[in-house]
């Protein structure tokens, strides 16, 4: 009697995974070997148990879990856009919110156009510098400018050259330190 195949080969034979020439050899051996037939019978019994447990013990709990998941996740429904969401407010609350927004806007507009917020702020920097911030009403600025005799923000002095002096340009205007223009001595 030839030697019996090991359990792995028998398991592969049971699952019909051994190619034909070798499968036929195993089949011929199993037909004549009581011990191998008993092993095949054990494999068949194990498969039967697993099939029976799978159909009776696992299917029902898995189905319950699947239903719970589907109940919490809507299928085929997308969340609405932020711009399309609607918020329900009680009418008094909505009215109060509108009044607050309107008051805030009016206050900002008044502050932006208000001109009589005059102040002078002198700020001394830690390094020793001094910063002057001026903000005066428009009418006071006008008074200041008038006191300085200028229509704009500059001080203007007028000198009148005698008519007897005839001036003619002799070149381009020039400016520089006095030592850059030495006096011509005879």
């Amino acid at each position: 009697m030839p030697m019996c195949p090991d359990l792995e080969i028998l398991s592969a034979y049971f699952d019909d995974e051994i190619p034909a020439p070798w499968g036929r050899e195993v089949a011929a051996h199993v037909a004549t070997c009581e011990r191998c037939r008993a092993r095949l019978a054990e494999l068949q019994e194990t498969r039967s148990i697993m099939t029976e447990e799978d159909s009776q013990g696992w299917r029902a709990p898995m189905e319950r879990v699947r239903r719970r998941i589907l109940a919490h996740v809507p299928i085929g429904r997308q969340r609405a856009s932020v711009w399309r969401r609607q918020v329900a407010l009680p009418l008094p609350v909505a009215f109060l919110a509108a009044v607050l927004i309107l008051t805030f806007g009016i206050t900002l507009a008044v502050l932006a156009t208000r001109t009589n917020m005059g102040y002078i702020r002198v700020t001394k920097a830690p390094a020793g510098g001094t910063e002057y911030q001026f903000a005066v009403p428009y009418d006071k600025v006008e008074a200041l400018l008038k006191s300085m005799g200028g229509a704009d923000a500059t001080i203007e002095s007028v000198m009148t050259i005698p008519k007897s002096v005839k001036l003619i340009p002799v070149g381009e205007p020039r400016m520089g330190k006095a030592n850059e223009f030495p006096r011509k001595k005879p």
Binding site: V122, K140, G149, S157, I168, G171
Partner: protein, 172 residues
């Protein structure tokens, strides 16, 4: 000699008055008006502009006409001097800035409007200068150019403006 005097003291007093009013409007501000005025005065500058018309003769340094304008201003605030002649108008706009090293950066703009006597054609010059100077250092401006010997032979008058900046000193 005409002498034009201008004062910044009214300006400073007016600013102090505005500041006093501002104290009532800005309760968070704790600056004393007198201190603010002293701060302004300590930064004030005296700008003297002297205009001279020199004769054609180079050997003669006595001006045929001169005028002087002294203005008090604050750093960054410009002063404007205007010279009106028969056929010329000259603007000199000076803005002094205090630098970190204690010197003054003089930013000056010169504008010259000139009418030719013969053809009545108007000419315009505009120039801009930025000159670092020390206190008391003289800066010269020749709005109609700097004449040479040829121009002097043509009996042309020369006009020059002298600018001098010194710190403001309160008179006792």
């Amino acid at each position: 000699m005409p002498r034009v005097r201008g004062g910044i003291v009214p300006l400073l007093l007016a600013l102090a008055v505005v500041h006093t009013n501002a104290q009532a409007q800005a309760p968070g501000s704790d600056t004393d008006p007198k201190e603010a005025l002293q701060e302004l005065l300590s930064k004030a500058l005296t700008v003297t502009v002297s205009a001279r018309v020199l004769p054609p003769d180079a050997q003669e340094e006595t001006p045929v006409w001169n005028a002087e304008s002294t203005k008090l201003t604050l750093p960054g605030r410009s002063i404007k001097v205007r010279l009106d002649g028969e056929n010329v108008r000259i603007y000199l706009i000076c803005t002094p800035y205090l630098q970190d090293n204690g010197e003054v950066l003089l930013v000056a703009q010169g504008q010259v409007w000139f009418t030719e006597p013969q053809d009545k054609e108007n000419r315009y010059f505009s120039t801009f200068y930025s000159i670092p100077v020390s206190f008391g250092e003289k800066v010269l401006f020749f709005p109609l150019g700097l004449s040479d010997a040829d121009a002097q032979q043509k009996n042309h008058f020369n006009i020059e403006l002298e600018i001098k900046i010194v710190p403001y000193e309160k008179k006792q």
